[in-house]
Structures are given as C-alpha cells and as structure tokens.
Symmetry: D2
Subunit: 376 residues, 4 copies
C-alpha cells in the first residue's frame, strides 16, 4: 500500500517526502518530476521568491539506476536560499529574534497555530504551514504520475477561473492537454486575457485573487473505491486530499453543487449498451457512482480562496502586544491559482495511486500491469 | 482514539456499528439516539418504506447501567421488516432468484458494483450501498453528540435549498436550532412552501429533487486539526466524512466557492483584540484557517444530488441480457434532503469526535472535560 | 484490506465482531465456525461456566444465502446466560451494587484498569478484559480459516506443554492434524497423561497451570510480509497478534530462543535446488526470513501463563478500603491452555488473512484465487 | 500521534526517518543522538565496516534552534562511503552489473525478496533489508529518548547472553545503567570474558553468534496500553516493534516462557497496599497486566539469532544459474548482539513514545508534562 509522508519548513534545509509502496520496476524520469516542480513555481501573477528558487528534486532512496526497488522512496527538494536563512532557521542553533513574526495574518495558520503550539513567534508556525510544503507533494506527484501512466491512467487539470474571469465552456481531456496555457493554465485565451488584467489591477492595489480549478482523470477503470464502507468511498478520499491543499475551500465532483438544483430526470447519466460496452450519454456524476469509479472520466472542481497575504496588509493584531497592526507580508504573489492547480493534480495523483495500490496489491510494476489489465 | 465501523444490509437483519474509544463515564440517553433516528426517517417527500420502519437503536455492548465503560460500543438498528425479507436475504440460506435486480440504476452503485464484485444480481450490491447504511451512522452520531455536548460542543444543520427553492439568508446558530421545521428542516417558511410545491409536482411527475445543506459546529475551541501534516487538516477530514454520505456531490467550507471570486481584501476575516480576546468581524473562512479550527463557528455546506431512483424510471440496460430497460425502483422518495441533513450531522459529529479524542487523549469523560477546559 | 473489530462484555448481551474486507463469493459453513467455538470451550481442566455455555455464532450481516457479499461481516456470539446477568449488566439500566468486585486480582487488568478508567468496581473493567472476548475472535477465525483454505493455506496448532509436562518431539503438520487429542490438544498420550495428573493435583490445591502452544501454517507461499518497512514484517505482525491473546507472555518463531545459543553454522537453513525448486534441509527460521514468508511452514511458539484466578485466592487488597483481601474468583478453570491454543490459531488466521488481502488486493474470491495461483 | 517512517539503502546516500507527532518545545541534543549511533556501531566482535563509518545524524526539518516545532522531524544518517558506492548505487544511473549478488544467503531476505520483487540481483533486496536500516531507527530513538526523559520515563537494556555464555543474575535498573560494559553491553565481567572467548573462537572458525537481550522501562505510569481492544494491548505492540528488529526471533515479557512452567500460585505478583500506594513483592508479569502497564518496571527479553552472514560461507545456490554455491559475504561481523540491543532500545522507545502520545494527546511538551503529571 502506498503512503506519502511529507516534512520540511519553508526556509529550512528543504522539503522532504517518503513514499512507501511504490512497486519494484518503475523507471523514474527525474526530469519529469522537475517539470512538475517548475510548473508549480510558474504562472502569471507570482512574486519574486518563486522566480529565484527553481526547484529540483533529488532522490535519496528507493531508486537504483533510475529504477524503483520496492523500498521507500525519499525525495528532497533542497531550499536554494537556505544559506541566507540558516542564521535564522538552523536546527543546530540560530538567531530566533530577528525574523520574528508577531502580526498574525488573517487567513493563515498563524493565530491558531501560535495558541495551539504555545509559541510567541508566528514563524514557528508559518514555516511549516506555508504552501511551500506542497513542493514535496508535487515532487511525489511526479512519481505517482509516472506510476499511473504505466497503467495508462492520466491526470490533468486547468484553471476555470481567476477572480471573476470564468470559463464555463465544455472541454475534453484532449483539449485540456493541448490548450492549457503556461501563464495561467487556462484554456480560453480571451478569458485568460481578462484574468491577467484583473491580476494586474490587483497587483497595483496590493490585493490578491483566487479561482476555480478543474481536474480530470482518464483511464481509471471502473470499481476503484467501494460502496461497502464509508472510508473506502473514492469521492470521500479525493475530497479529503484536495481539501488538504492550502487555500482550497470547496470541492465538487461532476456537476457538483448544480446537481442540487436539478431534477432527478436531468441529473443522472442514463446507461446504454453499445458495441459490447455499457455507455453513457453524459457524465454529470463526474465518473463516480456509489463511491466507486464508473469508468468515465473523473471530474473534480476545487475553489481556491485568494492568497491571504496582501501587499497592502490586512487589519490584524500583534500577537504579543495585542495592539492593532497590519498583517506581516511574507510573500508577494497576487495569484497562485495555476500553482494550486499543479498541487491539486499531485494530491489527486497520490490518492489515485493509493486506491490503485490497495485494489491491485502486488509488489512489482509488471504484476500491477497484469492485474490492472485483467480488470474489466 | 475514536473509530467508527459500520455494517449491515438494507433488508438484512439490521444495521450495526462498533464505536471504539468512547471515554468511560458518559451517560447515554437512548431516547436521544432514537430521536436522531426518527428525524432521519421523517420529512416531507418521503415514500412508504420510511413510514413503516420507525427505527430504534439497541446498545449491545460498551455500556452498563446507561454509562459507557470505555470499551467498544456496539449499536444495532434492527430491521423491522426483516421477517418479510428473510426468505430472500437470510445469511443462513435463502431464495436469491425472486428479488433479483438486473436493470442497473443510473446514479447508484449497481453497475459498478456488479462488475467489481462479479455478481449478476444488483441486489448483492445495493443492499449494502443503500442509504439505509446511514441508520448505523446516525445511531452512532447520537453517541457522539452526547459526548461532544459534555464538552459544550454542539452540531446542528439545516436545509438551504430543495431543488431551486433556495434560502440565502444569514442565520445564527440559535436561529437554526429554533427555526428549523420538522418537515424540510428549513428555516424560512416561504421558501419551504415553495419547496413543498416543487416536491408535490415532482411527485406527480415521478421525478426527484436534491438540495443544499448547511452544517454548523459551535463551541469547538481553536487548534483542532493541524497545519503540520496534510492528513491532520480539519477541513480535509470533514470534507471526507461529508462526501462519504450517500448522494453528496460537493462540500464547501465558509464562503466556499464564492471565495474564488472575491479579492483577498474581501475574503479574509480580519483580526481584532477586544475584551481580552482575539475576535473577528466576519467568518468567511467557516471557522478553519491553516487546516485547524480557529474558534469561530464551523460552517460547511453540502450539495445533495436528486435521489437517483425515479418512479418514472430512467433509461438503462438489463445487466445480464444487455437489452434496454427502465431502471428498477426500490424506493419511492421524492426528496430526502432533510434525511441527508441528519446523516451529514452524524458524519460531522463522528469526525469532530475523532479529532477531539486525538488531541485530548485520556480515558475518562472527566479527563476529557478537564483537558478540554484547559485549552485556550 | 481485511480488518477485525471486536466488542462485547463477558456477561453482557454477547460478543461481537465486524470483519471488513472479506472478498465476495466465499461460501460460509456456519457449522465450522461453531466447531471452533466448541473447541474453545472444551478441554480438560475447565470449570463449570464453560460447560453451560455452548456458544453458537450468528451472522448478522455481510452474508446472503451462505455467500459473502464483499460487505462487512458482523458476527454475534450471544451470551446464553445474559438473562441471569441482565439485572446487573443491562446497558439500559441495572443494579451495579450487587456484583461489585473490589478485591483486585493479581495478573488481571483489574487494578490497572480501575485507575485508568476511574472506576471503583472492577466489574467495569473485567467484563471487557475477560478472556471471553476471544469468543468473538474465534468466531471471526472461523471465517478467516474458510477464506484461507480456499487458497490452500492451512493453520493448525497443538499444546506442547502444560505446566512442566513437556512434549519436545518433532512433528509434521500432518501429525498435528491427526494426533491432536480433544482433551488437551496434545500429541503424545504419555505426556498428556502426566499433564492431566498435574491438572488434577492443581485442582485439588486450588491452583492453576499454563503451558506452551505451537502453531503452524502450511501452504503460505513465499513473499508474504516484506523487508522493506519495519511495519510490514510478517514476524512482527504475527508476534503482535499472538501477544494480544489473553495470558500470552512470550512468542518465538522457528527455533526462537534456542537460536540465541547456536552458532551461525548451526542456526540457518541452507539452500539447495532440487527438482526445479529451491529447497531447505531444515526449518529453524520457522518459515520467515527477512520479515517475509519463505515458503516453508510457519512455526510459532507461545507461552501461556497460568490462569491468574485461583480458587484458593491470591493475596491482594480491596481497592476501595485498601485492606488486605483474597482475590475475587470469577472463574474456576485450572488450565485453559487448549482454549488458548484455539484462540492463538484464530489470531494467527486473522493476521495471515490481513497480510494475504494486502498483497492480493482484489474484490472477489475468484480474483484472490487467480492472483494467489500466479505467485511463485 | 507519533509515527515513524524510515527509508534508505545500506550503500545508498543515507538512511532517513520522518517522525511525526513530536510535541512542540522539546530541546534536542544532537550529541545524544550521535551517542546512540556510536553505540550501535561499537561492540566486541564487529567487522571492518562498522569501524569506518562513524555515523552522525543530521536534522533536516522539524527543529529550529535546537527546539522542536511540532512539525515532522526529518533525520538523515548520511552514508560516509557513498562516494565509493555511487558508481553502483546511484538513483540517477549506475553500473548494476559489477556488485551483483547471486548466491542467495540463508537467513537473509535474499531468496524471498528476489522472488517477491522479481529481480535477479540480490543487491536490489539486501540494500534495504540490511540491518543498516536500523541506523534510522536508532537516530529516531535518540529523539524519543529525549522526549520520554522529559517525562522521567527511562529505557535501558543489556546483553544477557552471547552464544552459550549466559548471565542469569537479577539486576536493578540502576545496575544496568551503571554496570553495562562498552564492549558487549553485559553486566557480569566473568560472563563477558567467556563471551569474548566464544567470539574469538567463532571468528577464527568463520562462524557467528547471537544472544539474548533484556530491556527495561522505568517510570512509565500505570494504564498505558489498554485491555479494551486487542490492538491497544501494550505487550502486543511492544512484541511487534521488537520482533521487527532484524535477527530477532523471540520476545518475552516478564518471566515469559518460564511462566508456562509455573503454577498460578507462583506466577503472579500479589498486591499489597503500603504507604499510600499499591505495591508488589515481585514483577514476574514484567510490568504488564491485562495489556496495560501496571506501574512496575517493564521487562522484555529478546532472542537474537546468530548473524546469517558467515565468513566461511553457508551452502546455497546461485539464484540465476541454480548451481550450488557458497553464500555471498557482504559483512564480516561475528557478533552484533550489543548493536541489536541498542536497536531494540530504539524500537522500544518508539513504541512507548507512540503509546504515550496517544494517551496524552496535546501539542506541546509542557502540555505533555502537565497531563502526564496528573496521571495516577
């Protein structure tokens, strides 16, 4: 069974992941992992830090001569600017006064975390709560993607909206792969143009933007997840993994919230039998019925809130003095929706990989391929 | 640590749950549990079966003289009509031909489940996949509610919409408790009137309706859940438990999807300090920041799809003959949104109880109360 | 994946188990389960209670027409004497004064449990801590045995010693199956005769006896368990399940503790290749190398301490008054080693079933059989 | 809750561990961790490799300025000789022909692992199955020890025997701490002298030795672990963690296997009340009754088999050619019992820390200390 454990602070030595349960015999292309990391850092509307970094993954264990051993895979994404932060972050001893954060930022873990962990410096919270944690998940996602692709299971996604610039069109999986832009991961150039304008004006105003992301899984056969226990339900598991991504505040599958307004006669995907296969004329269920995949494409949508760190500073309080303050500004992104899209793909890849590993069992990739091939 | 394991088929002997980790010393009021079960079966728009049943919970273990022992609590909700179904369902041997279901119902687990479990009778799938499973979760929810109330943590909820009849007003926790109707669990009588009309006309048309449910948690202190690992995030855990409820297709926290359209300056809950406490002027985050409770009310909204079993029958296929057919009709509810609301409360109660048990540790209710009282 | 959850008090309504993850399509013979339960209650040296009871299992869910559905299987072993105990044990309300236990029994959970769970009546502890809990595990074991036998994996065991009457001979799996006596589950009639004499004289003296049990697994192919993570090691997992059985104080695999005295040249099982297979001349490792099964028979030995409830009463203290007392006597067995042997088999069956389910994945028995057949 | 995840190959870049759930506020002394690692590598009878290495731990995350943050702690023990092995082990690409191992070693994971993971080079198995994995566990053990010492819970251990040189004397916890030798971790100098002679003569003969290790826990209050579910039993959990240590083939608690020969009247620890406390005159139970700690010292004994890699080579087969061969010799230790003792302490520390974290809950060390202090 696959597990994913992550660790690491935003300005510490690096971000780390241990992935257990990858079968023996998967050939890993490190460049593909780095490609995912690159995409996580790119996008219109990102601030300075992202540009400096240029993350690379290093494999520390579990792989020999590019091939997985079946043992736990350790991944490191070293922080390039650790040298500059060592003085303030080193486990071995450091100056904890200088980079102290006391003005707790609304929308972040600062205030809650400080109370919970009994500290007076929000840096001790934000360093881990930071979205930089996702670098480890994206690196692991690069492994999961290669694993799933060996079974012809593909995951993609795109940005449906940034702020109020929304693209409501219908797209095939192919469309997403072909039309997705590098800048905002959107598919419609006109909507994207509007989105970029919104970003520009928010940047000027010291404000930020969120958006809606759509995720797709193609090639997952039917019967992953199960109606037999509530814990095994595929939609429940995916909802959890997506909601665990920083800044995500909503998850829906298929037509999601709009299903609540439809009548039953409009909402379900009728079943036909053609050319030796059960087929559907529609996919409003988003590929999941009764808590299991039904063989159609999985479709999930996710709402990302606007980044809670604003250059203009939200009203808050100094945690220690209790006096009014402007929230500390650790980062300066205006919009990180495309980055969030990458992270959501990684989170989804991880969960699909787990579900697949549990149903297939097995120790080697060739066993996985054989068993997967035998499923209907 | 609390765990909840459920079992049981829809027309089998009953529905069962084992709850581990309930601390010693909780006095259980069985009538309160039965009250939850009653509410799960009530509501405008329910069909015949629900009326016959009138579920009662029986405690089989873990409680002595109304007081929990600290040992696993076993709950049974016996099926009142098992005598009539015995002939077709008995574990000990039965007639499996007569109640065979072959016309797989769109929107249900039938088709997927039959392939997955290699059976030719959908009854072998639907008996467990049925929403009747939730009777066990609601019974357990009755225990969790009494446990959490001993810590002054309260959970409630209401129906925001049935079909297109939507109530967009703002309500306090108190409002929900006081104004919730018995029929549709709605708060606004005018909206409810419209909803009932929609239900009536759907009933005539052999159609069904879904809706939107809102859930609230009051009294949960800050710091439940954690930003430190993705698995511990409270919103991720709650999203999973809510999405695991039959027919739920979307989950959002706080302002959820509408946050994606807001600017950062509009989306976050600024922090103030008044009368010796950190306060907020708003609760758009729905009580969760950085994956942990922030001390505000938790607010979740859930989308329920329309019931997929329509009296008029959706188009489908006979699984075995592959010929076109009308979907089998096992139940005849038009709208089960109020029932789903009860189940969502139960699912939420279970997850909150788990999170609380992990942070408090402890073996007895008085330890729980002491430790909870000491949290900030 | 298979899980086993048990519940129930010794004099409550019954003992209960929910087993998740049993594949679809296993035909269950209830009589075989009852046979295991009967064996748990039998044996030379048992006191009165065991004779009255005559446990039977009832299947409450997960099985239809004798065949598993793939849904959670609920088992009940109803307590036949609950009617007599209802007055003192009923969850719905009862008299808790009359059967109060205050003289905490050495070797039992009484003292520790009372402190931990904050109670003044040891009955609130001993009812769950009692070895009667194992009735649920044995019933579940009956399911696991039938499941594993469908893969030609067999589990057996016997009593090597009672007190100082020790049988050190070498036995094949066949020997165990054929020669095991009903009275003490021993293989050598002379040793057994001595053991019975010891039991008789202990009975007269109001004393008790323990013993050593040996367990065998035949037909488990190589590669179950894994050297890749410490949690997956088969010997670690089995050690845990066996040590969890009431009264077990030691577990060893293969030659176990005597390996510590041997030289390396004497201790290991050299490898040969004959008739197209790797073979061994010996099995000192007990079928596990590097934390995984090596295809040889699994051999485990377990030490059971003498029953801690003595008719003559051990010295102790009244928990509430703190005055010296004789330990309460809830049961009157002299020797329960054969019963413990049955429970150890059940515990072993459960763990093997779990390990097998994780490696095979799959949803139906026929998938299990196919995949198991394909392993080397 | 505490979890421990390890990774890393014997001749790879290093050994790694992620520890989740360490509370905030523990000051970590890296030198103490290195002291544990040093002790793991020392001892009379070790071969060349151990001397070269001189392991040091590096903390990669979870600690800032020597103080834990409450976030996952990542530990690395870099392999000092990786530079020499890079050519044969690098994840990024390497020569896999030159260090190929085909003569599968009896007593190791080689044969089983090759079949399981479908490889023709035992190096792909042994690199992870190697006892070097324990370096990660020992490093983590160094953290757990410091955590538990902050609660005044101490763990120690010593070597009772090497081969047939057995020390059967009775020792207090103090004795162990004071008298334990650096060379063989034994307490009796005469026995140790004999043991060293045995090691010397084994070395000459190209043979190896195992032994028996005794472990102690002092200061653990009563009520850790639980009789309420079989999974929670402290002895079961500890048996698992100890059996997961490479080369361990037996585990017993208290008087263990000798309890099986005693009568009940001799085997249990009678209870008295003196000076306001419940006391015992003996500790044959090894500090655990009913699956929970009883406040006495925990006493466990473990059997380590002789190292399966002998300089003189055991008979085996070439996995690929199927021809007879002498087992490959990767290491040259004669006796690693003292090293195993250190690992067992680490494994025990990990499990105790997990059990403690579950009962205490809490996020900070000061919360832990307060709650632990309040237990009886």
């Amino acid at each position: 069974m696959i597990t994913l454990t992550t660790a690491g602070e935003s300005h510490g030595k690096g971000l780390f992941a241990i992935v257990e349960g990858i079968p023996q015999g998967l050939v890993i292309d490190l460049e593909k992992i780095n490609g995912e990391l690159f995409r996580r850092q790119s996008g219109y509307g990102r601030g300075a830090r992202q540009k400096i970094e240029s993350d690379k993954a290093e494999i520390l264990s579990g792989v020999r001569n590019r091939t997985t051993l079946g043992s736990p895979v350790t991944l490191a994404v070293w922080n390039r600017d650790y040298e500059n932060w060592k003085e303030f972050m080193a486990p071995e001893g450091c100056n904890t006064e200088e980079r102290k954060v006391e003005n707790v930022r609304p929308g972040h873990a600062d205030l809650t975390g400080m109370k919970k962990f009994g500290v007076t410096d929000a840096r001790n919270i934000l360093e881990r709560a930071s979205a930089r944690e996702t670098a480890a998940r994206v690196a692991a996602g690069g492994i999961f993607r290669q694993l799933l692709e060996a079974l012809n299971i593909e995951v993609t996604g795109f940005v449906r909206s940034v702020g109020t610039s929304f693209d409501g069109a219908t797209y095939t999986f192919e469309d997403v792969v072909k039309k997705r832009s590098a800048e905002l991961a959107m598919l419609d150039r006109d909507v994207e143009k509007r989105a970029k304008k919104q970003i520009d004006s928010c940047k000027e105003a010291g404000d930020t933007l969120g958006g809606v992301i759509e995720l797709r899984v193609r090639g997952l056969k039917s019967g992953f997840g199960s109606p037999m226990t509530y814990r095994e339900k595929l939609d429940a598991r995916i909802a959890s993994t997506l909601m665990s991504v920083q800044a995500v505040k909503g998850v829906e599958v298929g037509c999601g919230f709009s299903l609540a307004e439809m009548k039953g006669s409009e909402a379900h995907d009728e079943i036909y039998y053609e050319n030796g296969k059960f087929t559907r004329g529609s996919n409003r269920a988003g590929g999941i019925e009764g808590g299991a995949s039904n063989g159609e494409e999985l479709v999930f949508r996710v709402a990302m809130k606007p980044i809670p760190t604003l250059m203009r500073g939200l009203n808050t309080v100094n945690y220690n003095t209790k006096t009014p303050a402007k929230a500390s500004t650790e980062r300066s992104d205006v919009c990180a929706v495309p980055a969030c899209e990458v992270v959501c793909e990684s989170a989804l890849l991880a969960e699909i990989a787990k579900v697949v590993s549990e149903r297939l069992g097995g120790d080697t990739l060739s066993e996985w391929q054989k068993r997967y091939g035998e499923l209907e």
